[in-house]
């Protein structure tokens, strides 16, 4: 046996053994590092999803709590707004009503003309051709009896032949008329109170809306 070549062979064998072990160790560490990175990445992904979910749940919970608290505040704001708006509108309406009542009180030509128009309108609103007009005062009854033929003529000019008479009974109202068909099946309330109510509920809001659109 050649001692020196045997020694070389043995060393080479030992080197190879050693090299393989080192390579295996290196691979084990690299694999572990890769696996560790994967674990962290997955954790980050899971954490992100959990965070979003928990955050959303928490926000929803908090919002619900706060909305309850602030809903009352918003409601109060809207209530104050409605009260304030109503005050402003009511002040105009009150001035108009005052003016109307002053005209009614005078019973001058302006009111006579008004009574005629209100009567014509009320009669025209009914389908009936036999109508009774109710007034609010003796003075109105007198006026209406004087102008009843004008009322009938005006209705007739508008294409409706009708029999109209003034009722003896009086209504409790400030002015205007209530038209009732003789058979009592239909009526049209054209008293001032009814007209004021219509103005308040329908006409004035529409006028204000149109003005607002024009202005802003």
């Amino acid at each position: 046996m050649n001692m020196s070549s045997d020694a070389g062979l043995i060393l080479a064998l030992a080197d190879e053994l050693w090299e393989k072990a080192r390579e295996e160790a290196k691979k084990i560490i690299e694999d572990a590092k890769l696996k560790a990175s994967q674990i962290i990445r997955e954790a980050e992904k899971k954490a992100e999803a959990l965070k979003s979910e928990k955050m959303e749940n928490l926000r929803t919970k908090i919002r619900k709590k706060l909305y309850r608290e602030y809903a009352v505040m918003k409601l109060e704001l809207r209530r104050q707004f409605t009260v304030e708006k109503s005050k402003i509108i009511q002040s105009v309406l009150n001035d108009a009503i005052e003016k109307v009542y002053a005209i009614v009180e005078k019973r001058d030509f302006l009111y006579v003309e008004a009574l005629k128009k209100l009567s014509v309108e009320a009669v025209l609103k009914l389908y009936s051709e036999d109508v009774i007009l109710y007034c609010c005062s003796e003075r109105d009854k007198e006026i209406l009896q004087k102008i009843i033929n004008d009322v009938i003529d005006e209705v007739s000019r508008k294409g409706k032949k009708v029999k109209v008479r003034v009722a003896e009974e009086l209504l409790k109202c400030k002015g205007g008329v209530l038209a009732v068909s003789t058979d009592g099946r239909e009526y049209y309330n054209n008293t001032l109170e009814a007209r004021i109510k219509r103005v308040e509920e329908e006409v004035l809001p529409e006028i204000l809306l149109n003005l607002t659109i024009t202005y802003f």
């Binding site: 980050e44 708006k85 005209i103 128009k117 001032l192 202005y215």
Partner: protein, 112 residues
């Protein structure tokens, strides 16, 4: 009595020692790998744990601020509406009253 050791024995012993040492290196690597994985798992747990820890008060404050801004917007909008209504009515008051009087008395209007 002295034992006679042959050169083959010496070689085998040497190779066995190298083998043992090589196994030790691999074993150390395995232990290190286990540590790496264990550390990664611990870190992953921490990441997940910290992700579900929130400062609830901070979030509430942020949400409260948003809603308060909404309320303020609503207040400003309603105040503006009132201001506009006041302006319209003030600038047209007499005309408006006359128009309403006419309508109430049946003297007609485009709304009739």
């Amino acid at each position: 009595m002295a034992q006679v050791v042959s050169s083959t024995d010496i070689v085998l012993k040497f190779l066995r020692e190298v083998g043992v040492r090589a196994d030790e290196v691999v074993e150390e690597a395995r232990k290190e790998a286990e540590n790496i994985i264990a550390e990664a798992k611990a870190r992953a747990d921490e990441i997940i744990k910290s992700s579900i820890e929130f400062n609830e008060k901070e979030i509430e404050e942020a949400e409260r601020k948003k809603i308060e801004e909404d309320v303020e917007k609503l207040r400003a909008k309603l105040e503006k509406e009132i201001e506009n209504l006041r302006k319209i009515i003030n600038e047209n008051r007499q005309e408006l009253i006359d128009r309403l009087v006419k309508i109430m008395l049946g003297h007609g209007d485009e709304y009739e």
